[in-house]
Assembly symmetry: C2
Homo-oligomer: 158 residues x 2
């Protein structure tokens, strides 16, 4: 399910899976993104893409990740105490993403770690997993997010 | 310098640094990207950003990476035998990127590894390093790229 409540650091737990939604990928947006940020022939040029090892236009990996990010913002971060992210690891583009694919993304909590230096926050390590309409995992990201802890006042009511 | 020739797998070597260019970041594009892919308040909302730990609007980390990608395509991949990428590691957002910053990106070859299963190609591991106009490193990415080897016919002439 998509998270409905405002999530603080305390609301994340190892093994938790939040399905943050799904969306159709169109050729128009694949080409628009790649024209701006990743103009390699197999992302923007039908003819060249058909001749490439991919056999047709595929989404830039950065585009796939950016679409995943949007779903993670809509499903988790947007209604949370997120304080941004120091970075990511293990970005993997496992299968091509093509126009007409529907991507579904799961946000799976792998680790929760209170900050040792700043008592008001903690780090959540999460695996973002994007699958296509055939149930194939197409991309994964291991994200680190900083989240503020629940304020004392609210904790009393929780 | 920006690479001028078509690069094959054989043209990459450990320690090689290619400066792939620099570009100004505008507030208009920061907000346009984040509105589409990362609509967190500190990327799209002046007032909320001023109240955040960042003290003002900052670029989405995905936007910073996508701008880096464009420079890497223009400076290396676009004139190369690139066959795409299986993924990335160690994406780090070290300092905020703000409107008015000028980002310069270096592509530094860390490892070159012929494919053991496919003799026509190899993997290049590279560090992408983005610095701002103050010489501060703002973001790094460790990229993996697959490149075709130089064709025999051309190798004879090299």
């Amino acid at each position: 399910m998509t998270s409905q409540r405002h999530m603080y650091f305390e609301d994340f737990f190892v093994g938790q899976q939040i399905d943050v939604g799904s969306r159709l990928v169109t050729e128009e947006e694949i080409i628009a993104f790649a024209s701006q940020f990743d103009p390699q022939p197999f992302h923007i040029d039908h003819e060249a893409a058909a001749q490439s090892i991919f056999g047709g236009v595929i989404a830039s990996g950065w585009h796939t990740c950016s679409m995943m990010m949007r779903m993670v913002v809509d499903g988790v971060l947007g209604a949370s105490s997120s304080m941004g992210s120091p970075g990511l690891d293990c970005v993997r583009w496992i299968k091509p993403v093509r126009a007409g694919d529907t991507l579904s993304v799961a946000y799976i909590t792998k680790e929760v770690r209170p900050s040792t230096s700043k008592p008001d926050r903690g780090v959540v390590v999460s695996l973002w997993q994007a699958s296509n309409q055939h149930g194939e995992v197409v991309a994964t990201v291991e994200g680190m997010g900083m989240f503020r802890r629940r304020p004392e006042a609210e904790a009393g009511r929780a």
